[in-house]
């Protein structure tokens, strides 16, 4: 491996601060062709849901400590209605995948996800959960949690600072606000079937045709 001059292109700070466009987008999505009564009820339900997302910290490594720091007094996750970290997947709305997912953990991650009740959301926190991060070339590391479960929001960083975690969680709240409880028009999230291979037959598992698997 050659070491050349590497430089990382910075992201303009304004890109992060532009929340108005996103909000406008949400309003447009909600306003377009909505029934007056049902639309208002949808808005009410989404408001309630978005502001009381209970997270399940699926913390495998370093990012878990930053999640703890974010939940403690200094950063105070409670400001966003997310302080009730549930340890049982059955009581959680949101799974924060904080840390590397390895081959041995893959089935368990999927199992915990399957135990959560709908509507459920997943946040991939940190480089490892997004793509494998610094360990992407390892023989035992899954290249991103989205190979196993569908992911809603990706938060980059190694580990992400609590501020970036909050930014990601606020984006998720916006996503929740475009859900429609009565229309059942939640964004469809598909499994990534690339690496899901049946150990017995060696075939790729297609989640669309075999939903039980």
């Amino acid at each position: 491996m050659d070491v050349n001059k590497i430089y990382i292109k910075g992201i303009a700070g304004e890109d992060f601060k532009d929340n108005d466009t996103l909000q406008q987008y949400i309003d447009e999505l909600n306003a377009g062709g909505t029934n007056v009564i049902v639309g208002k009820l949808d808005e009410l339900i989404d408001w309630g849901r978005a502001n009381s997302l209970w997270p399940l910290a699926f913390a495998t490594s370093c990012c878990g400590i930053e999640f703890m720091a974010a939940a403690a007094a200094h950063y105070d996750l409670a400001r966003f209605g997310m302080e009730v970290t549930r340890n049982s997947p059955r009581q959680a709305d949101l799974m924060v995948v904080a840390g590397t997912i390895v081959n041995k953990m893959g089935p368990l991650l999927r199992r915990v996800y399957d135990q959560m009740a709908e509507p459920k959301y997943v946040v991939a926190m940190g480089g490892c959960a997004i793509s494998g991060g610094p360990f992407v070339n390892s023989y035992n590391v899954v290249n991103g949690a989205d190979k196993i479960i569908p992911v809603d929001v990706y938060i980059p960083g190694c580990p992400p600072r609590p501020e970036s975690l909050f930014y990601g969680l606020l984006q998720l709240q916006r996503k929740v606000k475009v859900d429609r409880f009565f229309h059942n028009q939640r964004p469809v999230r598909e499994y990534n079937p690339d690496t899901l291979i049946d150990p017995k037959t060696g075939e790729i598992i297609d989640t669309k045709t075999n939903p039980d698997k």
Partner: protein, 543 residues
């Protein structure tokens, strides 16, 4: 060490003794156990502490390196090597009867190199699943992802453990024995459990509320860091050490930097040494604070958790201002430190010291003498000094059992020979002594920082180092005292720009290996308390 050499030659006449960085002895596999037994039983200087057991693939031979030391004098170290040419069915002799810490290490070597150990009572693979194809750390490993695909179907964990035993007349018997008894009631604690401090999996056999047996099942965060290191240059592998035991990130990285610097003969500027030690000690305080906070949280005190993390934020702010990192501080590099301290560094640290002291008094007042806390911690999870040495439990936990094992005292590195501090030793060996040791070590760390903070010399913070470092051929060891105990780095170099083999000695692995004996006969609620008092970090175990 002269008489040790004589002892080695008296026991094994054809042993090859070399003076490398450490005294190195090479023996045939058959003679290994008698040699280690003789060294173990040496009355004057017993080599009863196995620091590290390193599996090796030397190409034509597969072997193991044992790094031994004595509990009486940690500065005396000895390297013993053995190897077998049989790559199809490599067999070596186990040393579990001498050093209990070898048990999990030998299972790890089996998973990674395929070497099986005769007389090890339980030869299942550690870290990897039983059906893993190939042995990843061998140089001829086929890393095709199709052989070991990611799957989403949970598999059963086999309850039978294979083993190879040698009978008195020298015959080898292969057999499988059950891990648990037929009618045992087994519950799984972990891997997704809030109180196992990560993704640890304890398979616990219960008799009512009493723990009968624990089977440690780890590897849910095994990232293959040591294998990844072999494909990278030395400056590139630095960041992996931060992600092992992330709570003592700076100290781990210090170990690797020192190992490379000593091997390459790089002189570190004085100013960098001062910055390193101050950052290390701040790092130690933050590590102990999280340990304290999490332990108290395990005992039901959420307030303590919030308090501990609150104080830690002050340290993280200092880290943040110095080098931009909070948890993982990318501060140490080969040759010095990456960033100089900021102008108000001294002021901030000096403001933190009295603040922390005040808070330590507060912790003491509201939790250390709390009746419930005392009832839960005193005389629970007793670790004897003999077991601590045999299992290689170092750090605050080992010192809680009366074993003087502080690397900063016995093998002083960096500036630790120049500063004055007490080694905190307690002899009771229960959870409470480990708990108190951490709080006292915070006080000692503050004392060390106090001595250094006003005397930081001027000058460079980093020596001139080439971007590609080639270490001369050889084996290099370096230990530091991390938050959890002795953290060691081993590098074997063949003169290339990347290492031939890297191995990290993990203090947490030793800590988790005593869990079965500490929690046997205790209540299941105390299992959580004991694991909290030992304070292990799972990515450090799995690497």
């Amino acid at each position: 060490m002269k008489d040790i050499q004589e002892l080695i030659l008296r026991t094994v006449s054809d042993a090859v003794i070399e003076e490398k960085q450490k005294l190195t002895v090479t023996v045939e596999p058959k003679q290994l156990h008698p040699l280690l037994q003789a060294l173990y039983n040496n009355t004057k200087l017993p080599f009863d502490y196995l620091i590290s057991l390193i599996g090796m693939d030397w190409g034509e031979k597969l072997g193991v390196i044992y790094l031994l030391s004595s509990s009486k004098d940690l500065s005396k170290e000895l390297v013993v090597m053995t190897a077998t040419a049989d790559r199809e069915n490599p067999l070596l002799y186990s040393v579990t009867d001498l050093y209990e810490t070898a048990h999990l290490n030998e299972r790890e070597v089996y998973a990674m190199f395929g070497i099986r150990f005769i007389n090890n009572p339980d030869m299942r693979r550690f870290l990897l699943n039983d059906d893993w194809v190939g042995f990843p750390f061998r140089k001829d490993y086929n890393d095709d992802a199709k052989l070991n695909p990611v799957n989403i179907i949970t598999k059963d964990i086999p309850d039978m453990s294979p083993r190879i035993m040698e009978t008195a007349d020298g015959k080898l018997i292969e057999e499988t024995v059950p891990v648990f008894e037929e009618d045992d009631y087994i519950i799984n604690i972990g891997p997704q459990h809030p109180s196992t401090h990560g993704v640890m999996h304890f398979r616990t056999a219960l008799d009512g509320e009493i723990v009968k047996k624990i089977d440690v099942n780890s590897g849910y965060i095994h990232r293959g860091i040591e294998k990844l290191c072999e494909t990278m240059t030395y400056p590139q592998i630095l960041h992996f050490t931060d992600r092992l035991d992330y709570l003592s990130a700076g100290m781990n990285r210090h170990a690797l930097c020192m190992c490379v610097e000593k091997a390459a003969g790089i002189e570190v500027p004085k100013r960098a040494e001062y910055i390193r030690v101050i950052m290390d000690e701040l790092n130690r305080i933050s590590s102990h604070l999280i340990a304290w906070a999490a332990h108290c949280n395990d005992l039901g005190s959420t307030t303590a958790f919030i308090y501990g993390v609150r104080e830690r934020e002050h340290i993280l702010d200092i880290f943040d201002k110095t080098c931009g990192g909070r948890l993982i501080i990318n501060q140490n590099v080969v040759g010095g430190v990456m960033f100089d301290i900021y102008p108000d560094f001294q002021k901030d640290v000096k403001a933190f010291i009295p603040y922390m002291r005040e808070k330590l008094v507060e912790y003491d007042r509201f939790f250390s003498h709390n009746a419930i806390a005392l009832g839960r911690m005193k005389k629970v999870g007793n670790l004897s000094k003999e077991d601590a040495i045999s299992y290689g439990v170092t750090g605050p936990a080992g010192r809680g059992s009366g074993w003087s094992c502080d690397v900063r005292k016995h093998k002083p590195y960096s500036l630790y020979s120049q500063v004055e501090f007490k080694e905190i030793i307690r002899t009771t060996g229960d959870s409470y002594s480990r708990y108190l040791n951490r709080l006292d070590e915070i006080e000692e760390a503050l004392h060390i920082i106090e001595q250094l903070i006003d005397n930081i010399p001027d000058g460079d913070v980093c020596a001139k180092v080439k971007p590609i470092i080639r270490l001369p051929e050889g084996q290099y060891f370096q230990s530091v005292e991390a938050g959890k105990g002795e953290f060691g780095v081993f590098i074997e170099s063949r003169g290339d720009k990347n290492p031939y083999r890297v191995k990290f000695r993990s203090p947490s692995m030793a800590a988790v290996s005593v869990m079965p004996i500490l929690s046997k006969g205790e209540k299941i609620a105390d299992l959580i308390n004991i694991s909290g008092s030992l304070d292990f970090v799972i990515p450090d175990i799995d690497r």
